[in-house]
């Protein structure tokens, strides 16, 4: 495919962004179905950042805005809803990208003239439009007016289909300053728009390069990425936010309990006392250990033990570790 646009982009130059089929990375990332140019463009910026670590456009945020096409007074008008720009985002630059269709007829100068006979000179075809006029207006979200004229541009129409970009930073900054986050672009090439133009993957789009001053806050990722529960309310199996359906969930749950009965190292024959139970006041050290060695009592059978002091033994049958006599003596002495 054609070379990727060289970004960060000097927005003043007309960027001859050739339309090219998105790479397999774009298709994989953006899913099947027709990729519009804005999605491919954003993916290129993402890949560029990952390759070189260069901040896109000098900031830490790039927002794209797709156009919504409407016909107003028989003119094609594109609406851009800029309301998703966050208050903490300081706009650095904004660019308007549009695709100029190849002219429907070759222009006079493009056709080599071969007069068929002396008497019939070349019939010069009427020149097609050579310029495209774009009027930008901004209006508040629910305003009923056509909006305030923010800027006008006359763009040269190339002789073949081409993506072009223009810097509209001042227009977007002024509109945002006034809180008018609905921007319209009326493209007028002087031709009558036959019927209602339909929206195509080649619809114009806007890129806004910004520096999010809040992105270094401790939990900035939650502000933009941690959202409502993606499953709509009333979902038959309401699940915790973000937890996938357990049946479809390929993740393996790992058991938490320890394998087999717990091993402990209690000394056989001694009357176990819960480690933390406070000793009764009349107990003294020597009473605990009357002689240097205590006679080993045969351990009561597990059942009796359990019956005798139900609460003092852990409910879980514990495995007694066998120690040799020498170890036992050492332990007692200690």
């Amino acid at each position: 495919s054609h070379s990727a646009p060289s970004w960060p982009f000097s927005p003043t130059a007309a960027d001859n962004l050739q339309e090219s089929p998105p790479g397999d990375a774009a298709t994989a990332a953006l899913g099947p179905g027709p990729q519009d140019m804005v999605a491919v463009h954003m993916l290129r910026l993402y890949e560029k950042y990952n390759r070189r670590g260069a901040q896109p456009g000098g900031g830490n945020t790039v927002r794209s805005f797709r156009a919504r096409l409407e016909v107003v007074n028989q003119k094609a008008v594109y609406f851009f809803n800029l309301s998703s720009i966050q208050d903490s985002e300081m706009i650095l630059t904004a660019t308007f990208h549009f695709y100029s269709e190849p002219p429907r007829w070759p222009r006079a100068r493009d056709v080599p003239c071969k007069p068929r006979a002396k008497s019939t000179p070349c019939r010069m075809l009427p020149p097609g439009p050579t310029r495209l006029h774009v009027l930008f207006r901004s209006l508040a979200q629910n305003a009923a007016t056509q909006g305030l004229l923010r800027g006008a541009m006359a763009l040269a129409l190339p002789s073949r289909g081409l993506w072009q970009a223009k810097d509209i930073s001042t227009i977007v900054k002024a509109a945002r300053r006034n809180g008018e986050l609905l921007l319209t672009a009326q493209l007028d090439s002087g031709e009558r728009v036959p019927g209602v133009p339909k929206s195509t993957p080649r619809a114009p789009y806007i890129l806004v390069y910004a520096n999010d001053l809040g992105i270094s806050e401790p939990n900035s990722v939650a502000v933009t990425l941690q959202r409502y529960d993606p499953f709509p309310a009333g979902d038959p199996a309401p699940r915790a936010a973000g937890v996938r359906n357990s049946s479809a969930d390929p993740r393996v749950r790992r058991a938490a309990q320890a394998p087999g009965p717990l091993q402990d190292n209690e000394l056989p024959g001694l009357d176990e006392r819960p480690a933390r139970a406070p000793l009764a006041p009349h107990f003294h050290k020597q009473e605990l250990w009357p002689g240097p060695f205590r006679t080993l009592k045969p351990r009561p059978a597990r059942k009796e033990r359990r019956r005798k002091g139900q609460d003092s033994f852990p409910a879980i049958p514990s495995q007694v570790l066998d120690f040799d006599e020498k170890t036992m003596q050492k332990a007692r002495r200690r």
Partner: protein, 110 residues
């Protein structure tokens, strides 16, 4: 994992956005190596855990036991890296944001 060092160190952790339910709006990456910090900051702390001066003092106070209840310093991320994330905003427009401190480069006792 059991034969990992006891001392404070970086441990491997791969985060899959599908596991935390963000895959509906995160286009790329699908997952990334985030890592995490875990391990002991016991006295005496080896140089490798790059203790701050305060952590050194705290671990001595704890070891000497002058004041009961002083915990040992914590094993936390020291150097971290950014991550570029491509996602859809609420109007389903594509956004690229470069978030700082998304993955751990080194750990230290603090």
């Amino acid at each position: 994992q059991w034969d990992e060092p006891r001392v404070c160190a970086r441990r491997y952790l791969k985060v899959d956005f599908a596991d935390i339910g963000w895959n509906e709006w995160v286009i790329s990456p699908k997952s990334f190596d985030a890592y995490y910090c875990a391990g002991a900051c016991e006295f005496p702390m080896p140089k490798i855990v790059r203790p701050s001066n305060h952590a050194t003092i705290q671990s001595i106070v704890r070891a000497v036991g002058i004041i009961p209840g002083i915990p040992e310093p914590c094993c936390v991320p020291d150097k971290m890296n950014s991550l570029g994330v491509l996602f859809l905003d609420e109007n389903r427009n594509v956004v690229l944001k470069v978030y700082p401190n998304m993955s751990v480069e080194t750990c230290a006792c603090r």
